[in-house]
Amino acid sequence: MGSVRRHVQIDRDPDTVWKLVGDLARQHDWFPLTTCRVEGKKRWITLPSGIVFEEDIITHDHSLRRFQYRIVGNPAITSHLGTCDVLDDGHGGSIVVYSTDMEPEALALVIAGAAGEGLHKLKTMMEAA
């Protein structure tokens, strides 16, 4: 199992950050995706290469500020759990943590790379607003 984690500190309060991160249909605003479509407990994301991932939304907890999802229906991906938490950094800002546990493990590194880029963009967007 490939287990990876990326995080970023953002000088904005957690509720403000969660307003964007917790809007699951808008993840393409900050993550390197082309589109996101949400229907109930399902989401479909399109990658810039044209690949579409179908996802089950496992957790979408506004009080915990946590989002968890699984990529499903893809025979190449035998196991997946993605978790994004927005935490209070104790100084008025936030720490956003994006974790991936996945088989095949090689793909976990790729998603971690995309998460790293996404978190960097998220910080830039939030702190510019």
């Binding site: 490939g2 390197p32 990658l47 810039p48 690949i51 088989e103 493990e105 090689a106 790729v110 790379g113």
Partner: protein, 522 residues
């Protein structure tokens, strides 16, 4: 008009692959002629023994600790310095044709320019360079990109699909269903990563790289100065040259290479004398890096496997030599022959059966570190042919390109240009060459630092998952050319070892922190 620069690289090629370096199997007359009329470096090392870090060193003239590409999967920063950018700014036309690999291959998010350029069929893309201004990506106005097979987001794969949609499937499938390097065997001995490839020779990537180079050069005006990096993906695994060429070298006719120890007891004794990760990988109990098939156990490698892999590599090397010959003929026909500098090298070596191992990893011995490196200066430069014994590194390439173009050595480079002979090497201070290794693969951490000078190679293993920082390797290259006698713990050699280590630690550049993130396995 100035001097033109043809920079030829192969991928994962050994020093002894070439006739000019004593190779007895592959016929490489074109490269041998470059060697005969140019400068051959007999102790050239990469600064890292996998692709992305080594290629980043070629482009930036920097050690790994400085450019930060510490392992495959770590992208070179878009604004990293590039000698191609300097050459372009000074008026050179610039192209990279073949395998680039400054950025990860596995990229479904299309985060990296190489993959966008290739998948979009573009010539280049504007990036913000080190001067903060938009410019062609890494200084190359033209890319024609390829890698080791017929799939992926590159120009070669697109071209191949148009020529023959079935051709891509004829290559060995580099990755398996779990996206691991494929451990499957093939050929006649079931050797890993070997396949008899039904592809027509004219559709094979070696031919395509040469054709694309000829096409790009044909597009240039006669008075252009140009820098063309012609980068062959072979003889890197998979070993799947066109089946039509297998008659060139019959594996059954080959002796096992000198580095392969046929007696298993002696082989394992040699492995046990090295730092523990050697034997652990051989036994299949510790796989430190992604570049070798994790499901393959080197201990299962047979002498016939070694013969067949070597035969395949020799065939691929002959195809490369002939492809270079075609390019040289076309350059001569353009009237550029007298003003042409050719530099030939590779990014790192290949174990190719040495010590009972294949592929590459944290194994800093000649199999992976001693590289073919040839500089055939332009005839108009009137440089005498030479063989250079002094240690040099690929870190000198960027300064060398600048020197050829009449530019000052760029401030960002960390080594003088390549020497013209051993006297010149002394004047330029080529006393030592350094190689670094760092890998972190899901909690498995391995680090090594190596110095080569005065006929010695000394490697310190850094504290990590299986090393405590006390292990290492010390070899006397003159008396132990196959590096089978590790003197690291020899009481008679402690002073020698410690002097080398002192020099190494004082010569290594300070590591730029924080480390760049690893964004893909390769």
């Amino acid at each position: 008009m100035g001097r033109k620069i043809l920079f030829i690289t192969t991928d994962q090629q050994r020093y002894d692959a070439l006739g000019c370096n004593g190779g007895q199997i592959a016929r490489t007359p074109v490269i041998d002629e470059l060697a005969r009329t140019g400068i051959v470096y007999d102790r050239a090392h990469p600064q890292n023994v996998v692709c992305m870090p080594s290629r980043s060193t070629m482009l930036t003239g920097q050690h790994v600790s400085t450019h930060g590409v510490w392992m495959n999967g770590v992208p070179l920063a878009n604004d990293a310095p590039s000698i191609a950018s300097d050459l372009r700014r000074s008026g050179y036309r610039t192209a990279l044709i073949g395998k680039a690999h400054f950025e990860p291959f596995i990229d479904p998010f299309l985060r990296f320019a190489e993959n966008r350029i290739g998948s979009g069929g573009l010539e280049t893309e504007l990036s913000i360079g080190e001067d903060g201004l938009p410019a062609p990506h890494r200084g190359f106005e033209h890319f024609s990109l390829a890698t080791h097979g017929g799939t992926g987001p590159f120009h070669y794969a697109r071209w191949l699909r148009e020529k023959n949609p079935a051709a891509a499937a004829m290559f060995f499938q580099v990755l398996d269903q779990q996206l691991q390097v494929n451990a499957a065997g093939g050929g006649e001995t079931n050797a890993p990563q070997v396949k008899h490839n039904d592809i027509q020779r004219e559709l094979y990537h070696t031919e395509w790289v040469a054709d694309q180079t000829i096409n790009w050069l044909s597009s240039l005006p006669a008075d252009a100065d140009w820098f063309c990096w012609m980068s062959f993906p072979d003889p890197h695994h998979p070993w799947d040259p066109p089946k039509s060429e297998l008659g060139r070298v019959n594996w059954r006719d080959l002796d096992v290479p000198r580095g392969y120890i046929e007696d298993a007891t002696e082989r394992e004794r040699v492995l046990d004398s090295k730092p523990r990760h050697w034997r652990m990988w051989y036994d299949g109990t510790f796989v430190s890096n992604y570049e070798a098939p994790s499901k393959w156990v080197p201990k299962t490698l047979t002498a016939d496997n070694v013969r067949e892999v070597n035969a395949m590599a020799h065939i691929e090397n002959e195809l490369i030599d002939e492809a270079i010959g075609r390019v040289m003929t076309s350059i001569t026909a353009r009237g550029w022959g007298d003003d042409l500098d050719v530099l030939y090298t590779t990014d790192h070596g290949e174990l190719q059966g040495d010590y009972g191992l294949l592929f590459k990893g944290p194994y800093h011995v000649d199999s992976l570190m001693r590289l073919p490196l040839i500089w055939r200066p332009a005839k108009s430069a009137n440089v005498a042919p030479a063989r250079v014994a002094a240690p040099v590194g690929l870190v000198s390439l960027a300064s060398t390109f600048a020197s050829i173009a009449g530019l000052q050595r760029p401030d960002y480079t960390e080594s003088e240009r390549l020497p013209l002979n051993d006297d010149d090497a002394r004047l330029l201070g080529h006393e030592r060459v350094l190689t670094e290794w760092d890998s972190v693969l899901f909690g498995k951490i391995v680090g090594a630092r190596t110095i080569c000078r005065d006929g010695w190679v000394c490697t310190a293993m850094l504290p990590g998952t299986v090393h405590d920082g006390t292990e290492g390797e010390l070899y006397d290259l003159a008396n132990d050319p196959l590096q089978r006698n590790n003197l690291w713990s020899s009481s008679q050699h402690v002073a020698q070892r410690d002097a080398l280590l002192d020099d190494m630690w004082s010569s290594l550049p300070t590591r730029v922190l924080p480390l760049r993130a690893c964004d893909a396995p390769v």
